[in-house]
Symmetry: C2
Subunit: 531 residues, 2 copies
């Protein structure tokens, strides 16, 4: 395979020069390049599957600069990955098939961890496991925040607007970053924020620097290659406690969310772990199906009767508190008082810990991400359920909702109906608040290695993106195969924002060598083909 539009001799020449830059053993072709396939792609085995033509793995920033310069000379499309674990969103495969994967896994230096000022500066190949072990080995009293699972890259995850499970702002990984080093498409190294000051002493402590704040340009985009990135760490809290709030009735979601929102807006709750419904998110039920099938939807009274008949409480939300024991006890007690305004609200104390934990204590923790401990435990939960076609992975469909109960009810209704119209058994979305002021509603879409099944799944996923947008709920992130479709819904004023992205792309990467197609941004010479 060679990149489209590149001659065989140019490609071979470019690979030769890549080898000279990084060493023979760090340029991959043929079967070795196949290892960059996205195991979770909904295009598995189809001609349109996005494949790497080759891969190149530099060890340091000067080699990244050399690669970029070579790519410019031969017009080689590159596709940057950090650890390549962006599963459910495209993994390590390029968006533009035939690109050469620029694999930054060897750039795995932990440049600094400051316990005193609670930050880290890392390269893109550093994984959550690496950073966690570094900190634990040195007994530093700071926490990282990691997503499920923990083998990904803090840099890569933050740049894709990923999230984790400790308190805000740490769980919003892009928000918790401070300072970047970026190799631009022209091969120049830029440091952002205070990093632009040669003697900088607050590169990881003050985000803005002076002048335009450009960091956001390098997230969910293809405008540069981030080679270093700073993150704020959470000073090890004294204690943790979990608490669950349940409310009995269907319509209780409205005051439940209003109270939750006001607590989050005020910063009193900074870690909310999903709103779920034992009715909707429980095991399949014919009675639930029957209610869902009602043309106008079931009434609240009908839902309440059903829930009561099964002894189910309608909604529940789990809250996590971190800090000095006395403060988190006061918070939980205050929070309970606020939610008690809902008739029938009930409260359950969950796990509680005091830190640090010993290795033995950690081994007994089931869900480690809320304690900033990376694991691969999530994979145990992804085994296919009996009777379904075996899935090989999943894609997340993740629209952003306002923090109101009405929005949650409406979105559930809209998406359930759409799933039924596509003759797909609806799995109910989980409402998460990875951000201070909005919900993300997560639906998992299984993907398989069966072409016909995947076709149906793709059609439904595409339809869902448009349906969500029609209701004002844009997706915050999407699988590589759907980036054009997702960006296409952000179309205000004849796609003015997208056209601005293209203006930036043309100015910053005139030959279009960086990660063509990522988040819908194509270089000029490929735009015609797309539209």
């Amino acid at each position: 395979m060679i990149p489209p539009g590149v001659s065989a001799s140019d490609f071979s020449q470019a690979l030769k020069r890549f080898r000279e830059a990084v060493g023979d053993e760090w340029v991959f072709e043929g079967e070795d390049a196949d290892l960059y396939r996205d195991a979770y792609t909904p295009l598995w085995g189809e001609p349109e599957e996005k494949r790497a033509s080759a891969a190149v793995a530099p060890d340091r920033v000067e080699q990244v600069q050399q690669i970029v310069r070579i790519a410019n000379a031969y017009r080689i499309p590159l596709y940057t990955i950090s650890t390549g674990r962006n599963l459910a969103y495209g993994g390590s495969a390029p968006v533009y098939s035939g690109s050469v994967v620029l694999d930054l896994k060897r750039m795995d230096r932990i440049i600094e961890v400051s316990e005193r000022n609670a930050y880290a500066l890392v390269e893109p190949g550093v994984s959550y496991f690496d950073l966690y072990r570094y900190i634990r080995d040195r007994k530093l009293k700071v926490w990282i925040d990691c997503p499920d699972p923990g083998w990904g890259s803090p840099v890569g995850n933050a740049l894709d607007h990923g999230a984790g499970f400790t308190p805000l702002p740490f769980r919003d990984h892009f928000d918790a970053h401070c300072g970047m080093e970026v190799v631009l498409a022209n091969g120049e190294i830029v440091r952002t924020g205070m990093g632009a000051l040669p003697a900088a002493r607050t590169w990881q402590q003050f985000k803005y620097g002076i002048g335009p704040y450009v960091d956001g340009l390098f997230s969910q985009s293809n405008l540069g290659i981030v080679t270093k990135m700073g993150f704020w760490l959470y000073p090890q809290p004294e204690a943790f406690r979990a608490g669950t709030v349940t409310v009995p009735r269907h319509d209780d979601i409205v005051p439940l969310v209003d109270i939750l929102a006001s607590l989050m807006y005020a910063g009193i709750v900074n870690c909310q772990l999903g709103i779920a419904s034992p009715v909707f998110n429980g095991p399949p039920s014919a009675a639930v199906d029957a209610l869902l099938s009602k043309p106008a939807g079931a009434t609240a009274a009908e839902w309440d009767r059903y829930a009561q008949s099964k002894g189910l409480r309608f909604w529940q939300t789990e809250l996590h508190f971190y800090g000095p024991e006395r403060l988190i006890d006061a918070q939980w007690s205050y929070v309970k008082e606020r939610f008690a305004a809902i008739a029938g609200a009930e409260f359950q104390d969950g796990a509680s810990y005091r830190f640090p934990l010993t290795d033995e204590q950690i081994s007994r923790v089931g869900d480690r991400a809320p304690l900033g401990i990376p694991s691969l435990g999530i994979f145990a939960g992804l085994l296919p359920e009996s009777g379904e076609p075996p899935s090989t992975g999943h894609m997340d469909f993740s629209p952003v909702l306002p923090m109101t109960g009405e929005a949650v009810l409406e979105a559930h209704k809209v998406f359930t109906r759409a799933f039924r119209e596509q003759a797909i058994q609806p799995n109910y979305g989980i409402v998460q608040s990875f951000h201070w002021r909005s919900f993300i509603l997560f639906y998992g879409f299984p993907v398989t290695h069966d072409i016909e099944t995947n076709k149906k799944i793709r059609a439904t996923y595409g339809r869902m993106i448009r349906l969500a947008a029609d209701h004002g709920w844009g997706v915050y992130r999407t699988h590589a195969v759907f980036m054009d479709a997702a960006l296409d819904t952000y179309s205000y004023n004849d796609h003015a924002l997208h056209r601005l992205h293209e203006t930036l792309k043309d100015a910053m990467d005139p030959h279009g060598i960086l990660s063509a197609g990522r988040y819908g941004i194509w270089p000029k010479h490929l735009r015609g083909a797309k539209s």
Copy 2:
């Protein structure tokens, strides 16, 4: 006065077309344009003073688009202001003398205030007073955050990275924004974040949207004209209490800041109101001067002896707590326990309030900004002290420091010495934490209407910027006259970040009509002249 490089006939033609666009009465020339002079400029009355050639005040976004298109046709340099109250940083005068001020004061619509989801969407001409009154008149239970003084614009202040006095994140005005509408130099309207979704329902609730997050480009820059901007509001807290921590000795600043920093990094303290020293920030003293004059600096023991002899405690910091009474009492009690690790630490309870306050109660509040109430009270404190030349205003010199006591001591020493070398009586900086992870050290520089005095002040200010940068402390914001000098210190890799700014400028504003020179970004045709 006509803009440099523009012919008299083109200028007159452009003004004619501006009048057609906005109405005769909203284009200002001659004496009327003089009203845009910066009363606080250190170039007052000198040939280099930055002056407007004219001003144009549109009423709505379509008029802004028209003005931009006319400016492109005739190559008229525009300079955008919101309410024009950016005093100490350039006021309403352009950076590039001869520009036409694009005055957005008439665009003063409060488009939405959501009490339920605690946000506001406003135009640039809305002032803090306007927004406060709107909320108070409707008895909405949300707070704004305002700087001193309150006649400025939430939009303008946030875009200049301004700050206020209620808890973080609200006091960091750019961080508390969510969603923008921007008129680009090509006259196109772009909405950022979720605003790019035509049916958007979370424009003011989810910042990123999808794809590159571009909002930062429009802060401290000249890459677009922000015509709407969303802000997160603080749900009215139940109560407020202030507490002061004092420590006795010079070197106590080190543990004082370490404890404060860890409390802020953990989010337990979210409103710190400056670290000051009764020794340094007090009235002039010959004994203090003598100690400061020691070539190697006075020792800690010498300072301690002096402070003891005067009965002064060396350092103090004021903390503000907002929230349910029970929680803020628990916070203050916990905070006292932590600071009590410093031998001799003492604590004083300050003001406390329960909300809402009546008008009568508000009238008795001295310092209103911490309660989110705008005022002009700050001006009462700016009268010249006897014996000094009458100042007409001031510029802020504001380097960013790491949150360590050592950095505070070192910066004080370095700047004091520099003030003395310039034969200027040092006024001691106040350490503020308007941000989660860094201090800003504020020095007020008086400016006068006396040319000789101003010359000396300018020389010192310029020297201070370079001196700060040499020590790794970049300034976070600066007066229009010093933007080139400030940006020049952010020079990593041969000014790579600044060159990126220029690449963006050329792509987004090819004729260079928007706010030339703002934060050191000049259009191509003016770059030669500058360097």
